[in-house]
C-alpha cells in the first residue's frame, strides 16, 4: 500500500505556523520579487481573492480592501517546515519518498495483505493529527494500492464530500466510488491536453479511464497513459525516479541501500540527485532561484536521529547543473558529520520560474550556459543518464531581491526566533 500526504496551501499555511495573529485571516503569498500571487490560504480562496499567477500590482488594492495578509515567499521557512513535515511523516512507514516541498509518498511494502494493527482509516487520521499537532501544518492523507490510487484518495480526502482530510482505497467498492466522482483531468499524470482528447472520446471520469482496455490506450495515447490505467486498477507501474516532477518545485531524493558513512559517498549521491533534478528542471524550461540540500539518518535505526538541511539562494536563477552542484558541494561540509550512518539524502529545487519569461537583472547577469547544458542533456538522453556529469567548482555570490512583505526566518536564523509573551 501507498500513502500520499500533502499540505493544504503549503506556503500560506507555513506563514501561519509561527504567526498566530493571521491564523484566521486570509493570507496571500507572492512569488520571487513580489511579482505575482503564488499561493492563497483556504480562507482567502473562499473569499475569492488571491487567484494564482495574477500580477500583484493589479490586485493590490483589492487585497488590501479585503483585509488580506500579504507575504513575500519565505523559502527558508518553507524548506525548514517541509523538512519537519517529511521527518514526521516518514516515522509512519518503512519507506518514504519526498515528491515535492509539500508532498510525500509513504510505502508500506509489497505485501498486498498488510494492514496496520489500528486499521488503515485510523492510520491515515493518525498521520494527519500528528502532523497538525507536531508541525502545525494541515495535511490531507490518501491511501491506496498504487501511487496513482493514493493520489486519487488524496484528491477525495480534500475535494469529495464525506471525506474529511483522509481517504483510503482498500477495496473495489471504494475505488469505484472515488474514481466515479473524480474527473479524468484530476487523475495524476493526465494533463490538460490528454484530458481534452479523452473528453472528446466521452471519457470524463477517472473510472471510465480505468475501464478502458490498456492496450488500446497505449495505441491512442502513450505507454505513460497505459501505466496510469493499470495503476487505477491496482497494478503498481510507477517507480519513484520515473515519477513526473510537479511544476512548482523539483525534488530528487532517496534512501540508500546501505547506510553511507563517508563524505565522498554522500557527495556522489547528492551529485546524482543534482543531475536528476536539474535535468527535470531544464526539461520543463525552468530556472530555480533557490534550493535545499539535505541528509538524514534513519528514524528506524536505533542510534540517535540526525538530520541536517542547508538552504541556498542563487544570485541569479539557474538551471545549470554546474552552478547547482557547486552550491551542493559547499553544503556538504555543513551536512556531513563523522559517525552518522546516513540513510537518505536529496536536493530540492525551489522558487522556480519560467526561463523564457525571466527578466534578468542588469547587475546580476546569468552565467548559465544553456547550449552547453543542452549538449549535456542530449548526450545523457542518447547514452543513458549519467554519461556526462559535472565535476564541481565553488562559487559564492551575494544577492539582492525584492521581498517587501517577508516574514521572519523563524526556524533558520537565531535572531528570528519566535516570541512568546509572558503577559
Amino acid at each position: 500500500m501507498y500513502a500520499l500526504c500533502d499540505v493544504n496551501s503549503m506556503y500560506a499555511s507555513c506563514e501561519k505556523v509561527f504567526d498566530p495573529s493571521i491564523r484566521n485571516r486570509p493570507v496571500v503569498v507572492l512569488t520571487n520579487n513580489d511579482g505575482q500571487i503564488c499561493a492563497a490560504c483556504g480562507i482567502a480562496k473562499k473569499m475569492g481573492i488571491g487567484k494564482k499567477f495574477v500580477p500583484f500590482f493589479q490586485v493590490r488594492y483589492e487585497l488590501e480592501k479585503a483585509g488580506a495578509v500579504i507575504r513575500s515567499s519565505n523559502y527558508e521557512l518553507y524548506a525548514a517546515l517541509s523538512q519537519k513535515l517529511m521527518d514526521t511523516c516518514s516515522q509512519f512507514a518503512p519507506h518514504s519518498h519526498i515528491y515535492s516541498i509539500d508532498e510525500c509518498f509513504l510505502f508500506y511494502g509489497k505485501h498486498a495483505t498488510y494492514v496496520p494493527p489500528e486499521g488503515w482509516a485510523k492510520h491515515a487520521s493518525d498521520i494527519r493529527r500528528t502532523v497538525w499537532r507536531e508541525v502545525r501544518l494541515p495535511i490531507g492523507v490518501g491511501i491506496g494500492q498504487t501511487p496513482t490510487l493514493a493520489k486519487a484518495a488524496n484528491h477525495a480526502a480534500k475535494r469529495i464530500k464525506g471525506y474529511n482530510g483522509t481517504a483510503v482505497i482498500d477495496d473495489n467498492r471504494t475505488r469505484k466510488h472515488i474514481l466515479a466522482n473524480m474527473s479524468v483531468t484530476d487523475v495524476w499524470g493526465i494533463g490538460r491536453r490528454i484530458g481534452a482528447r479523452l473528453n472528446a472520446q466521452g471519457i470524463t471520469t477517472a473510472l471510465q479511464l480505468a475501464n478502458q482496455p490498456p492496450r488500446l490506450i497505449r495505441k491512442q495515447f502513450s505507454v505513460l497513459v497505459e501505466s496510469t490505467v493499470h495503476e487505477l486498477n491496482g497494478r503498481v507501474m510507477l517507480n519513484w525516479d520515473e515519477v513526473r516532477a510537479p511544476k512548482k518545485e523539483i525534488y530528487s531524493s532517496r534512501s540508500f541501500g546501505q547506510r553511507i558513512t563517508e563524505a565522498l559517498q554522500l557527495r556522489y549521491a547528492l551529485a546524482a540527485h543534482v543531475e536528476i533534478a536539474s535535468a527535470k528542471l531544464r526539461k520543463q524550461g525552468g530556472l530555480a532561484a533557490s534550493m535545499t540540500i539535505f541528509a538524514t539518518s534513519s528514524p528506524h535505526d536505533s542510534n540517535e536521529y540526525y538530520r541536517k538541511a542547508v538552504f541556498h539562494r542563487f544570485v541569479v536563477p539557474t538551471a545549470d547543473s554546474r552552478l547547482i552542484m557547486a552550491a551542493c558541494t559547499q553544503a556538504i561540509d555543513t551536512i556531513f558529520k563523522e559517525g552518522i550512518r546516513f540513510y537518505r539524502c536529496g536536493v530540492g529545487l525551489l522558487d522556480l520560474c519560467d526561463a523564457n519569461n525571466y527578466q534578468f537583472d542588469l547587475f546580476a547577469q546569468t552565467t548559465d550556459d544553456p547550449n552547453f547544458m543542452k549538449i549535456m542533456d542530449s548526450i545523457n538522453q542518447k547514452y543513458g543518464r549519467g554519461t556526462v556529469y559535472v565535476a564541481s567548482r565553488g562559487v559564492e555570490h551575494k544577492f539582492a531581491m525584492r521581498r517587501e512583505f517577508l516574514s521572519p526566518q523563524y526556524l533558520t536564523r537565531w535572531a528570528d526566533l519566535p516570541r512568546a509573551y509572558c503577559i
Binding site: 498566530p20 491564523r23 519537519k84 499537532r133 508541525v135 538530520r307 559517525g339 509572558c422 503577559i423
Partner: protein, 134 residues
C-alpha cells in the same frame, strides 16, 4: 530546520589536541541533551514578567515541545486570540495561570481562539547576550 550545533558544550577536553577525528563524536551537543523530540520541537524567546515566579524571565530562551502530552499545571505556549502566551494550564477549571504578583488568572471564554502550541520543557537564562544574534 532548527540548528542546534552552534551551541556545543565541550566536556573538559580543552587543552588536549584531539588525536583523531573520532574525538568529534565525543563532543557533547546541547541539543541532544535538551531536546527529546527534534522534529516536534521549536525554540523561542520569552518576553514579559508574568512567569518570573516559575523562573522564566524576559529574554529567556524557551524550548517548546509539541510532542509532549499536556498535563495539568504544565507551563505551555498557547495561541490565545492571535498571540503566543506563556502560561501554566489549570485544566480542571479551564484557566490560564500566571506566576507573578499582580497577574490574575485568565478564564477561557467560549469565543476565545485558543490552542495549546506546545509544552515548555526547558527555559534557559542568557546571562550574557548570544553571539549569534548580535
Amino acid at each position: 530546520m532548527l540548528k542546534f550545533i552552534p551551541l556545543k558544550a565541550q566536556a573538559g577536553f580543552t587543552g588536549f589536541e584531539s588525536p583523531s577525528a573520532e574525538y568529534t563524536q565525543l563532543d557533547l551537543d546541547l541539543g541532544q541533551l535538551l531536546i527529546d523530540h527534534p522534529t516536534a520541537t521549536y525554540i523561542g524567546y520569552a518576553e514579559g514578567q508574568s512567569m518570573v515566579d516559575a523562573g522564566i524571565y524576559s529574554g529567556d530562551l524557551l524550548i517548546i515541545s509539541r510532542a509532549e502530552k499536556v498535563k495539568n499545571n504544565d507551563i505551555v505556549v498557547a495561541n490565545l486570540n492571535g498571540v503566543f502566551v506563556v502560561k501554566r494550564v489549570d485544566k480542571p477549571n479551564r484557566r490560564l495561570l500566571s506566576a507573578a504578583k499582580g497577574y490574575a488568572p485568565y478564564s477561557l471564554q467560549s469565543g476565545d481562539e485558543f490552542q495549546i502550541e506546545g509544552v515548555v520543557t526547558r527555559s534557559i537564562r542568557l546571562h550574557r547576550p548570544l553571539k549569534a544574534t548580535l
